[in-house]
Symmetry: C2
Subunit: 223 residues, 2 copies
Amino acid sequence: MMFKKVLIADDCDSTNISVQKTLTDLSIIFDSRDHVTYCDAALSRLQKALANGEPYDLLITDLSFNNDIPQVLEDGTDLIRAAQKVQPGLKIMVFTGEGRNAVASRLYRDLNLDGYVPKGRGDIKDLKAAIEKIANDQRYLSANLRMDLKANFSIIFDEYDKMVISMLMEGNSQKEVAIYIKKNNIKPSSLSSLEKRLSEIKSTLNISNNEQLIAYCKDNKLI
Amino acid sequence: MMFKKVLIADDCDSTNISVQKTLTDLSIIFDSRDHVTYCDAALSRLQKALANGEPYDLLITDLSFNNDIPQVLEDGTDLIRAAQKVQPGLKIMVFTGEGRNAVASRLYRDLNLDGYVPKGRGDIKDLKAAIEKIANDQRYLSANLRMDLKANFSIIFDEYDKMVISMLMEGNSQKEVAIYIKKNNIKPSSLSSLEKRLSEIKSTLNISNNEQLIAYCKDNKLI
DNA sequence: TTCTAACTTACGGAAACCCGTAAAGATAAT
DNA sequence: ATTATCTTTACGGGTTTCCGTAAGTTAGAA
């Protein structure tokens, strides 16, 4: 189900135009008041919309804001945390040119973001893909970020994932892996859960089959 | 269908015992005269058996022979070539401790061997697996050799294989690959052929699923 | 040519994988 | 304690993959 109401928080006008165009391309109706340039303003719009019974269902925000006016919420992370408190369940994605990728990855995990897209080559396509994924209740981490995850890949893969993928790489079928984890009392032990987890990973990484997943892991020395 | 008549050509007694035991374990009846220690003797036994209408169906041979008596066929490669002339279709595998692995790989291809197992840790298990594979009309290249194929991997993968596996790694399904090669007029263009080729590769490498195959390729930088 | 052997393709059934849904369990907040 | 939410599990149907068989094709040898 595509989004009905999207709020953009970004103090940079030029990027705003692109984002709005992207939303229009996705047939999302967009009111000029759905765009704010201060974090405090963003939060108050969220609250107001919620109070009116017409809450936003997606927030697209930058991380750094140039605050020429003093703000309670000083940057994007403040806004995100506040928004999550005010409206749990609100989908939130970051669209930013700020920061190193390593930072981005940590934020993606720590803030439990639904999507993270860095500005740069191909960002519009990236953004569109992210929005579509998130609209479908999935998470999206830009491919441009994924490349730098070698070190702290735990953001995507936990021990469970690691073991499952390792066993697949050793030639086990998914069924065999399920049998193994059942025997060793590992948390989600059903084949169904395993399938769902694999599917989730692939979806998040925009990967379409197990072969590509293994190649990705090997390329990035994740396992 | 397991082998009925196996000829062993090896001048080393100690290894012979192991090989014979392995054959016995596989329920292959073995006559002491099915073991020779000279290449010429090996060939003549092959010819005799063929003439008697009871040909051997597997030859297991070493590569180097200590020829205290002058021989027409001086080493294993001579024997193999002669045997292939005399009895086309005869399955031939090498079981040897000789030579560098790179050499082994080249031999495996150039002599069109059915199997190649180097002596060393785990060689009995290796041997058994090889015999079973070959009995089933498949080829077998020991895992101990495969590790050194980085450079001359063309022994196993040709351009066709390379492209198919690459496309799988890029997220295409086998069906999609088949459609693509059909479009581009690449030689075996049916999905069936593609399946068979993949299956053959995995069988030869003792690999049980596509995930393991991709991991193997990445590990050995084959693609 | 004609035959044989090898390769390619089509096809079908079994197994594995994918994906959605719904029930059952666990967890947390009120 | 009870609701609500999230996780895990079970299950079913559709797709893909796997693997054997058989039929068709090609290439080379007799």
